[in-house]
Amino acid sequence: MSTDNITTLRQDLKAQIISHLNLEGRTVESIADDMPLFDEGLGLDSIDVLELIVLMDKHYGVRIADPKQGREVFQSVATMADHIQANR
């Protein structure tokens, strides 16, 4: 897969996250690829994991059956993008 496609996917993901989670005031530029999504970093929580699972499924066609698996996949935009590429 080309670097361009990876970049596009990551940028797309950032836009989706901001819109899906109603992150007012957040821009795509302000989210680094490897910024931690939970706790420090973007400050998401366990409810957000559930929303992101739905996002993965509806927008990228990738299902995560168990929310507990979610924490690893959703570490950062980079890990999310990797998971999508591996499973789509």
Partner: protein, 344 residues
Amino acid sequence: MRGGGSALQPIAPADGPPAVVGMIPEELIAPGPDRLYRLVDRVLGNVLDELSQPALNERWGCYIATTKGDIEALGSADPDRVRLPYLADHIQRKAGFAKRPWIISNACASGTSAIAVAGAAIARGHIDHAILLGVDLLSRFVLRGFQALHAVSEAPCTPFDAARDGTSLGEACAAVVLTNDPHILPNKLGTFLSGSIAHDANHISGPSRTGEGLVRAIHGACNKAQITASDIHAINAHGTGTDYNDGMESIAFERCELSAVPMSGYKGWFGHTLGAAGVLETILALEALNNGWVLRNEGLVNVGVPGKVNALLKDERASGDLLLKTSSGFGGCNAAILLQAWKA
């Protein structure tokens, strides 16, 4: 409950009516926009008949515990009915209360919180008697929300079980009368001793892992009644069947030195009835004690919680009459009340 098993049934497919669980008469629970009011009116009517239709003057309080009230009216032709005060107004007019009813909405701790408040109001002399009613109905609104949180079990919920995977939703309307004059009550359930409410301050939908709020609520109720853990003969827990709630409760019970006390949650029989739960479960737990029993956790096979608890797998003969009832809800709200069975 002594002789039978769980009344929980799988819910009908997405667009069908909710399954009838067999404890509420068909004519009350049949689908229709006035479903909530049929149920409330019947329960209220029963209570007033039992009391021989007293004049509900300023010395009578009315406390309504509910989380969503008539939520199915949202999006209907009559959305005004969704406002909880609409239900309070209906009840006030129907029963003839002089005082405006209280509506207490503390999530799933509403019922137990309301008992704590009504008991305190009588103890303080604000009122002499109170009719307290808890109600919540099954709704697609709530079911879909709980499903979105991955909080609904595949089969009837099994509180405190190692294999528990979520709760089952139920619906109920339950009412009690509290009074400082036992002569007005034809049937006595028990005595309210004390109540307390405390917050987890952790997460709006996830309880404190260490049970901060519940521990404080239990201690608060015990201190108020001047009793210690060793005085308690039975615990009726919240026990939803979710991983987090039951885990948190077990830790709170252990921290409060209640590990040896016979403990059960009733949701395995009829599910999580939200605002009605605290009232319904208190009534049934006291009734069990009055008959000399502490009932089992229906559906429990293997206890699997981090805190040390005496979660009953079988009904047990009660060793006394003191009951601790606890409830916990979203927003990190926890309520604990202490009651003494009437004829144990």
